[in-house]
């Protein structure tokens, strides 16, 4: 049975498949996720197909998904994998954030769902940034070296028009997985020479898309940064002091900004300008 280990931070899981189709899906979804980790897998996900050909996803034999949609299976597998990896991650800070690199300098975009992380990431990717993740960033304690959960861009359908523009002639590529609530878009379709790197984080931008707002960039104090980062910390309960001292320590070291934007005009020049000055 083909088995793919996923490793992230100090947490690992394994995914077992039983067909070429689901093996290919796993390889595509987790292409950017390392398979060798510090610790052995703590959870086993298995994808099988019943006699009626419906897909079945289980975690340690408990059913997570059953249905005939490969795209819905992909969404469920992605969510379950992320949850299980984050659940046991205890040697560093795990943020709900996008991460990109510009000329080797890393930025993270921490935000809850719906703040435009993925769309902004796709746009920055199309403008020369290397895309690393739109979901999870791991920073070992007292380190700024980012390890990113390298999944495809998870594009909500509300942003489809923008993404289609960025994809151009690749917009109907068969490697795009169109699920019920979002589509998974390999970053290489937006820019073919996207590179996977592990940069040091040089800046933090808290993105906030607001159609009715004017573009603004506000420098945040260390306390404001710490407060905003805590709201995006995924694995607080696994860490000493609930991850608060380590998050505050990070907030003291990295310049941070609140970025509010109604469209992308001005965003690229602002971010690259700040990074190039460092």
């Amino acid at each position: 049975m083909p088995t793919r280990n996923l490793s992230f931070g100090d947490s690992s899981i394994e995914i077992v498949t039983h067909s070429d189709e689901t093996t290919d899906l796993v390889n595509m979804l987790f292409k950017g996720v390392p398979d060798k980790g510090i610790n052995p897998p703590h959870a086993r996900l298995e994808i099988s197909q019943d006699r009626d050909e419906e897909y079945r996803l289980t975690r340690d034999e408990k059913q997570i998904y059953k249905g005939d949609s490969l795209a819905a299976l992909a969404n469920s597998l992605m969510d379950t994998s992320i949850y299980n990896l984050a659940d046991k991650c205890s040697s560093g800070l795990l943020f709900h954030a996008a991460c990109l690199s510009w000329k080797g300098k890393g930025i993270i975009l921490p935000a809850q769902s719906g703040h435009g992380k993925t769309t902004l990431s796709a746009w920055l990717l199309s403008n020369g940034f290397d895309y690393l993740t739109d979901e999870l960033v791991y920073l070992p304690l007292e380190s700024r070296q980012a390890m990113c959960f390298g999944r495809p861009l998870n594009v909500k359908y509300g942003a489809r028009e923008i993404i289609d523009d960025l994809l151009g002639e690749n917009k109907d590529d068969e490697s795009i997985v169109a699920g019920p609530v979002a589509m998974l878009v390999p970053p290489g379709l937006v820019r073919a020479d996207n590179k996977t790197v592990e940069p040091e984080v040089d800046m933090v931008f808290f993105p906030h898309y607001r159609a009715d707002a004017e573009f603004s960039l506000e420098k945040l104090s260390a306390a404001q940064t710490g407060m905003a980062l805590m709201s995006c910390l995924v694995n607080a309960r696994n860490l000493a002091g609930d991850g608060f001292p380590a998050t505050v320590s990070l907030a003291r070291k990295i310049p941070s900004y609140q970025l509010t934007y109604p469209d992308f005009e001005g965003v690229l020049g602002t971010i690259t300008g700040l990074l190039d000055e460092r």
């Binding site: 404001q224 710490g226 805590m230 907030a251």
Partner: protein, 93 residues
């Protein structure tokens, strides 16, 4: 939220973590996953909430420590205690 009384003896939530950053203070409450952004005066008030001092005692101590003609200080302390209580950083008892 009940109105704060001067004979209440507020108790700080010991599961909260406090960190000072320059002139600002953050108070993180893991039980509700909320982070409060407070000033140094508020952090002093939170630390005085030991379950033994009444609200009136806390007001007196701060007024003695920071003598001022400002009549608003008393109300500021009450507002701070209310805010801390609303965010489960202190319990009024």
């Amino acid at each position: 939220m009940a109105e704060i009384k001067l004979d209440d003896k507020p108790i700080r939530n010991e599961s909260c973590h406090m960190e000072e950053l320059d002139d600002e203070v953050l108070l993180y409450n893991p039980t509700n996953n909320k982070t409060l952004y407070i000033n140094k005066s508020a952090s002093v008030i939170w630390q005085l909430c030991n379950g033994e001092l009444a609200v009136e005692d806390i007001i007196t101590m701060i007024q003695e420590a920071y003598p001022s003609d400002d009549n608003g200080l008393r109300q500021d302390i009450l507002d701070t205690l209310n805010s801390l209580a609303e965010n489960d950083a202190v319990t009024l008892a």
